[in-house]
């Protein structure tokens, strides 16, 4: 059970009687994280790495401790934990650096229609530029990636597997460990998009044995402007940097430069210092709550919601079997964009659209969906208000002539 007053940790609720169901887009920010950001700007507010005076030394120490904290939380080492702008940037780094240099015509890249654009498009580009082939795991009728279906596309040509850990539209959890095991048998590498899993479950990259794993700060109570790429040390060692400049080299002359070791070789310029401190604080915050409890809490809300929706005429749920607290649904005959305005009037924040994952929307054969996603600050009262609004919305749009 989560402590009852978690909403108090999130200042947004002070001014808004909000039912926030858009955490799959961005989570809200709790006070300790806001404080950690503020602390940097008020107490240090100086650059790292290159300063020999005390304030800079302290900022550097805090910054690198933040990296270690984050590394520890995902079971990675310091050198394997690279800061990026966000999950999109991390996913792109793998494709631009590893993909562009190592793939060739005849090679196959396995992706899925469940991928977020930020995991599909980078590999579309790699395919286009290298001549490798983009292959889609056939989804089950429910829209799932299964081991069985993965085996249908895995073969000796497979060089890279790029799959999401949890779908941001369908909430399905990919059986990623087994897929990684199979991929490795074929000597293929696996890039995991963990943007929707790291915020909600404890993820251990060594246990998972993935080759690359990416996620964002802002979806896990951290700040905007930071993400993380985990990569296996030996792979990172062999990879080329994709940005060049200050802080990623150790000596430079007019025509040549020698690059530092990972993680620094992938991090040119002044890093996201405040954001790294904020993200480490977010990990500590979530960890204090406990990922087991977070999962149980979300699952309880999910079950309650699905059960209620099942009893309402006029709503279609596309993923009733989802393991994680993301619900893809629509009101019959009501465009999600119309629907969302109804919910908004009662301060229920839902998302309508394709959720940056058009291929799964195409798979569902609808123009767009509504999405409700739960997180730690959601309560049973939120579920009840949401369900009440679903019923009212159906009545409202019927009366309006939809």
């Amino acid at each position: 059970m989560l402590k009852a007053n978690i909403k108090n940790d999130f200042p947004v609720f002070q001014n808004n009687d909000l039912v926030y169901l858009d955490s799959a887009a961005s989570a809200l920010t709790p006070k300790p994280v806001i404080e950690a950001l503020k602390e940097y700007y008020t107490d240090y507010s100086v650059n790292v790495h290159r300063g020999v005076y005390r304030l800079s030394y302290q900022a550097t120490k805090k910054y690198e401790e933040a990296r270690q904290t984050i590394a520890d939380h995902i079971g990675a080492t310091f050198a394997e934990t690279i800061f990026t702008r966000g999950a999109s940037s991390a996913l792109n780094l793998v494709a631009s650096s590893y993909g562009m240099s190592n793939l060739k015509p005849g090679d196959e890249i396995i992706v899925s229609e469940l991928e977020h654009h930020s995991h599909l498009l980078p590999w579309q580009q790699v395919a286009k530029k290298t001549g490798a082939k983009l292959v889609f795991v056939p989804l089950t009728k429910a829209g799932r990636i299964t081991v069985e279906n993965f085996k249908k596309v895995l073969n000796d040509h497979t060089k890279m597997v790029a799959l999401t850990h949890v779908s941001n539209v369908m909430g399905y959890q990919t059986p990623i460990e087994e897929i990684i095991r199979l991929a490795h048998e074929k000597n293929a590498l696996v890039s995991v998009d963990a943007a929707q899993s790291v915020p909600h479950q404890s993820v251990d990259v060594k246990a998972m044995d993935c080759d690359f794993l990416s996620f964002s700060g802002h979806k896990m109570c951290g700040p905007t402007g930071i993400g993380v790429l985990y990569g296996k040390k030996a792979l990172l060692d062999a990879m080329e940097p994709i940005e060049f400049g200050g802080d990623m080299n150790d000596y430079v002359d007019k025509q040549t430069a020698h690059f530092k070791d990972t993680p620094y070789k992938f991090e040119t310029g002044t890093p996201p210092i405040a954001q790294a401190l904020g993200l480490a604080e977010a990990f500590r915050y979530l960890d204090a709550i406990g990922f087991d409890d977070i999962k149980a809490h979300e699952k309880a809300l999910l079950n309650k919601t699905i059960e209620a929706l099942n009893n309402i005429e006029g709503v279609v749920v596309y993923n009733p079997s989802a393991e994680t607290a993301i619900i893809a649904f629509n009101l019959n005959d009501v465009h999600p964009h119309d629907a969302v305005s109804f919910f908004d009037e009662d301060q229920i924040a839902l998302r309508a659209g394709h959720h940056c994952a058009q291929t799964v929307i195409q798979f569902l054969g609808v123009p767009a969906t509504l999405r409700a996603a739960f997180y730690i600050y959601n309560t049973e009262a939120d579920v009840e208000r949401f369900i009440k609004n679903v019923k009212e919305a159906i009545a409202f749009f019927k009366a309006a002539g939809f």
Binding site: H335, P336, H337, S341, E345, H354, A368, A400
Partner: protein
């Protein structure tokens, strides 16, 4: 109860359920513009045909919410047979009215006045203007 009631006026629902001038044509003399609002999936194509400085026809096709789809139909109904100059003025006034920019307060918006309520739903102004913006583009293309 809700402000939303004000949004879904009779006229809007009528054009949403029974769109006029819907469906594109491959006839000659039409200029086409396609606009997508990627944030929500609205996707509208407008064709217009100008002859003798007059808007002879407007066609539309696409997917979107009630506001978006109905407004394409209202647009086609209202601007057909207007002069190009009138259509331009109408379009600009309409877009400016919806997006809270300055417009002629005495302008007669005819049935398009039904969209006035969209102003109170700033997140929806794109829906109400996307067809009109596409139409404005087709005019610009012909004038060239």
């Amino acid at each position: 109860m809700r402000d939303l009631k004000n949004l879904y006026r009779q006229i809007i629902m009528d054009h949403y359920k029974n769109p006029r001038h819907k469906g594109l044509t491959s006839e000659e003399g039409y200029i086409k513009e396609h606009i997508k609002n990627p944030s929500c999936g609205d996707d509208i194509t407008i064709q217009s045909k100008i002859e003798d400085n007059t808007v002879k026809d407007i066609r539309h096709e696409g997917t979107g919410c009630s506001i978006c789809c109905s407004s394409a139909s209202v647009l086609a109904t209202l601007l057909k047979d207007k002069s190009v100059a009138e259509a331009q003025t109408f379009t600009r006034n309409y877009i400016n009215m919806i997006t809270n920019q300055s417009y002629d307060k005495n302008f007669d918006f005819e049935d398009a006045i039904a969209y006035q309520g969209v102003k109170d739903f700033p997140a929806r102004t794109k829906c109400a203007t996307i067809a009109w913006l596409a139409f404005e583009q087709t005019l610009k293309k012909q004038v060239k």
